[in-house]
């Protein structure tokens, strides 16, 4: 469907309108139920005893004192539980054939490898009793040298696992033409070589994790309630790791309060609750606490990046060379090794670059495992290239907007075959830049910046740009195969019209805050000519949607939404045949409008789709060979990724006396193809920008030299709030994707990808005349103050 058709459609229906989210009343009134809210009589509460050492040999675990405490039913060590596991915890992405993956059990047996690694569990009648007893478990530790700093770990200064040959997990390369790269650097008029540190981030979803496993009576199934993004993948993995047959496991994700990738994982506590429910034949539950989440839920980012650009005298980039160290943490979680690879193809950003070289080494450290976190690999890639482009602009003495303009892949080049081997579907990068510059008033800002500098103001102005393109809509199954990912990338949907004309949509996508119910019902409402409120969306329950691949990587709309649209089309096709039968007309003479099949040229001859649903249900008079009921399913495997893009501009004020950075204005122009609901798009972009700003200015999972996590509360881990952010100015261009029938691209990660480099570029821009070229993230006031030099003039008067 082209953009024009969609707009025409939007005029008649709801797609393209800013419909309020149907999910929100339940969430805002507190009626939505999260795992912790479930009332399960007789459930045992699990508390996990965690290692206080980053790396230690476990010499003894004594649970006897805990067993004597009130309410305690069981206290079990790693050794006690070893027989429960049919296999170790899963990693689904062996990126290379020789990848090292240390054995990862839900409860460690003789070596604890990060602070927070589970060493025992206690089950009691209440959460408080379980926690009291967990404190009474006596564990003997012999502390071992810890691999903490990523670069030290890469040199094997200390081994993260005593029995491992080295800390290297894998080395992965994408170097299509090494000679071309070498030549480009030899012949370059200008080169830049930059080093950036991607600090570790704590995802800090509003709802920490929670699990509750309820065995059904009479040898029935296990119902696993989990605060997860991936009920379907989880069910398969639970079967594989615990040996409970997959068909005896039903996973339900009730309301889920955010994930950002941190719930795209299979966690020890999920396996433990299932295994313990099996062992004790009682419901077992666990609710994660905020401080526990800081250690026990995956971290994001954690990379050291080296990026080099070779350019000609006009600033045209001829080659990009990247070396990455990626912090795996102590173990490989579900997709840990693949996260840097998701960025591997995008280090040339939006620019037409002929030569490319990317190498990444994954390294184990004695820290919480890392895994996918909003953007997963693509924010890191965008950060590196966008920071490096600014460095190049400074070196050339060129305006950063002009440098970008010179290097963009032109709008006439799509579909564009990239040097890294992708085919970018569609785009017009310069249009997004132009719009962003216009919205922010770029020239006036540059003028004011110069003015403040020449006035010797202590509040300097900085303007930072970031242009991005991402690959999302994960993913064509065949491409995933070539990347050694062990699952496909399709999605399933069923659309069914009930006898009364109400509609049910069953989807394998799993919302956790995105507004799927709203968007899916809008798509189906327009397809069938019903109201969105008449469309019920069933999701996040493997009992309702047995097959699905869940939600991550901005895939839900472009893959899951497409499956829904296709299923709806099939339903309409069937309804059309039935209508033709009833109206005694040829199917191709029928038009569906506002839920009525009308014979073209004879408007009085019509039949409603709801009536057809009833007739298909009674099946009293169906055409020869037609099966009863109006129901259709589709499974969609995308043919390509989608490539959303845009340009963001951050404007900061930097107080040279204190180093304080205030983000004073922010403009984001995004192109996610066609928009089903621009209000939801705005929300996704807003949250994404905030999360990217958080990385730029506020957040870091800090460790001390011994590997203790220091930021375990939200007073120390600084998640910014609305008070730290300006009102965002959003703009949009619309370049439909030719890769799927909806023309959509996905927008869940865009804001996060774009904003981090925009903000850091802005701070560096404010201070560049003082010789500042880089600032480590998060850009704290102290770091800014130090970069200016303790000798910054202190002037009286100004406030």
């Amino acid at each position: 469907m082209s953009a024009a058709v969609l707009e025409e459609h939007g005029a008649a229906g709801v797609v393209g309108t800013r419909m309020l989210r149907r999910e929100d009343p339940a969430l805002l009134s507190g009626e939505a139920r999260f795992v912790h809210d479930l009332v399960v009589p007789g459930a045992l509460h699990m508390a996990v005893v965690r290692s206080p050492y980053a790396h230690a040999r476990i010499t003894s675990v004594d649970v006897s004192a805990a067993l004597g405490m009130p309410g305690v039913v069981a206290a079990l060590t790693g050794a006690d539980l070893a027989a429960e596991w049919a296999s170790a915890m899963p990693c689904a992405w062996p990126v290379t054939a020789d990848m090292q993956s240390p054995k990862h059990l839900p409860v460690a047996v003789d070596e604890a490898c990060y602070t927070g690694d589970a060493v025992a569990v206690v089950l009691a009648g209440s959460q408080a009793e379980a926690q009291d007893a967990a404190a009474a478990v006596a564990v003997g530790y012999e502390e071992l040298p810890a691999a903490v700093d990523l670069e030290d770990a890469a040199r094997d200064d200390a081994l993260a696992h005593v029995d491992a040959p080295s800390n290297r997990a894998y080395t992965w390369e994408l170097v299509p033409d090494p000679d071309a790269v070498r030549r480009a650097f030899d012949e370059a008029a200008v080169t830049v070589k930059e080093r950036y540190r991607q600090q570790r981030l704590i995802p800090a979803a509003m709802e920490p994790r929670g699990v509750c496993v309820v065995p059904q009576p009479f040898g029935g199934e296990f119902v696993v309630y989990s605060s997860t993004q991936i009920p379907h993948i989880l069910r398969t993995m639970l079967g594989l790791t615990t040996g409970v047959p997959e068909d005896r496991i039903r996973v339900i994700a009730p309301s889920v309060g955010g994930g950002f990738g941190s719930k795209l994982d299979v966690y020890a506590e999920e396996l433990l609750c299932l295994a313990l429910a099996r062992r004790l034949r009682r419901p077992v539950r666990w609710s994660e606490e905020r401080s526990e989440a800081a250690q026990a839920t995956i971290h994001g980012r954690g990379q050291v990046q080296e990026i080099e650009l070779a350019a000609d005298a006009d600033g045209r980039v001829q080659a990009v060379r990247v070396h990455l160290l990626a912090d795996m943490g102590a173990y490989l979680q579900l997709v840990t090794p693949g996260v840097p690879i998701l960025g591997a193809f995008l280090y040339h950003g939006t620019y037409d670059v002929p030569a490319y070289s990317f190498t990444c080494t994954g390294v184990f450290t004695n820290k919480t495992p890392t895994d996918a976190y909003r953007g997963a690999g693509r924010p890191e890639a965008t950060y590196a290239i966008e920071r490096a482009m600014d460095a190049l602009a400074r070196k050339l003495g060129m305006d950063p907007a002009e440098l970008r303009r010179r290097n963009y892949i032109g709008a006439d080049r799509f579909p564009y075959s990239s040097v890294a081997g992708l085919v970018f579907d569609s785009g017009d990068y310069e249009a997004a830049l132009d719009k962003a510059l216009e919205l922010v008033g770029y020239d006036a800002l540059r003028h004011e910046q110069a003015q403040r500098r020449s006035d010797g103001a202590t509040k300097l102005l900085g303007v930072g740009l970031s242009s991005y393109v991402e690959m999302c809509g994960l993913a064509p199954s065949r491409v995933l195969a070539s990347l050694h990912y062990v699952a496909g990338g399709w999605e399933t949907a069923t659309v069914r019209m009930l006898p009364t004309g109400k509609v049910q949509v069953v989807t394998g996508a799993t919302p956790h805050g995105q507004g799927h119910v709203t968007s899916w019902s809008m798509i189906v409402a327009d397809k069938l000519g019903v109201l969105p409120d008449d469309v019920e969306v069933l999701h996040s329950d493997t009992g309702l949607s047995p097959l699905g691949l869940d939600t991550y990587g901005s895939r839900s709309l472009s893959v899951g939404g497409t499956a829904i649209a296709l299923a709806a089309d099939r339903l309409v096709d069937k309804a059309r045949l039935l209508a033709a039968h009833r109206l005694e007309a040829a199917p191709e003479d029928l038009e569906l409008s506002d839920g009525q099949f009308v014979v073209r040229g004879s408007p009085s001859t019509s039949i409603g789709i709801g009536t057809l649903a009833f007739e298909a249900f009674t099946a009293h008079d169906l055409p020869e060979g037609m099966e009863p009921n109006l129901e259709a399913s589709a499974t969609y495997d995308p043919t390509n990724f989608t490539f959303p893009f845009g340009t963001h501009v951050a404007v900061v004020e930097v107080d040279t006396e204190t180093g304080r950075v205030d983000l004073v204005r922010y403009v984001g122009v995004d192109d996610c193809g066609n928009q089903i609901n621009p209000l939801i798009v705005d929300g996704q972009v807003h949250g994404g920008i905030a999360q990217g700003v958080a990385q730029a200015l506020y957040e870091e999972a800090s460790y001390d030299e011994r590997g203790n996590l220091l930021t375990t509360t939200l007073a120390d881990y600084l998640v910014p709030a609305a008070s730290e952010l300006p009102s965002f100015t959003l703009g949009r261009t619309v370049t439909p994707s030719p890769s799927n029938p909806l023309g959509v691209k996905g927008v869940g990660e865009a804001g996060t990808i774009a904003s981090t480099p925009a903000v850091v570029n802005a701070v560096v821009d404010a201070l560049s005349h003082l010789g500042v070229e880089d600032l480590e993230m998060p850009v704290t006031p102290e770091r800014v103050w130090r970069s200016i030099g303790a000798s910054a003039p202190v002037q009286g008067g100004a406030r």
Partner: protein, 275 residues
Amino acid sequence: MIPASFEYRRAGSVEDALGWLAEDPDSTKLLAGGHSLLPLMKLRLATPGVLVDVGRVPGLSYVRDAGDHVAIGALTRHRDLEISEVARASVPLLAHVAGQVGDPQVRHRGTIGGSLAHGDPASDLPAAVLALDATMVADGPRGRREIAASDFFRGFLETALEPDEMLTEIRVRKAPSGWAFQKFNRRAQDWAIVGVAAVLDGEPRVALVNMGSTTVRARGTEEALAAGAEAADAAARAAEGLEPPSDLHASAEYRRHLATVLVRRALVEAAAARG
């Protein structure tokens, strides 16, 4: 995040509270707004055996004009102090500082008595009462006594209050003009990395947040001001003799620097406000 178990008693009067405190002062804690004590208990850094909730004791939440001074009940919540007409007119510094504490939830629960009795060097109100040279009124088994703010803050989470005493009132001399408060933090809801309360109405007094193990006065600055120094020169001595902490949010060196900048800004602002 679940505290160790404890016994909970709700006091109906100051006498109730003092009686229970006297039974076992060392393992009994008063609970006011709970916004400092409960986090410590949840982290199990505090494990009192008995919690005496004074939150509903009547008659201890007020801001009163008492002639030459303003009297504030210990259970007055930050928000009530912030919007009090009496405080705004006669001790605007205090009303302003109360409005800078934490976030709205904290300001609607936390009390001035709890904030002062807790003795946290990172708290804002202690610096304000120190700069205002306030007087604390404590009741205990040995009767009532008055403690000058300059004698009250003793060390990290340590005040002049005995374990069996309860802070009941804070008396603050009127200082309607010539004040300023500077709070430097990274997020609006956070404790100060460094804060400055300055009062130039009368003998100049400058108190600092988070520049030592307890709330402290910037003696160097005060001396310089008394000797007639300009704001910038007096401010340059703000960190003299002080040993600020180094933590995740700032190094001691940076805090010293910030103190000089913020004190200068506070002095300039306070002087301008004095007119």
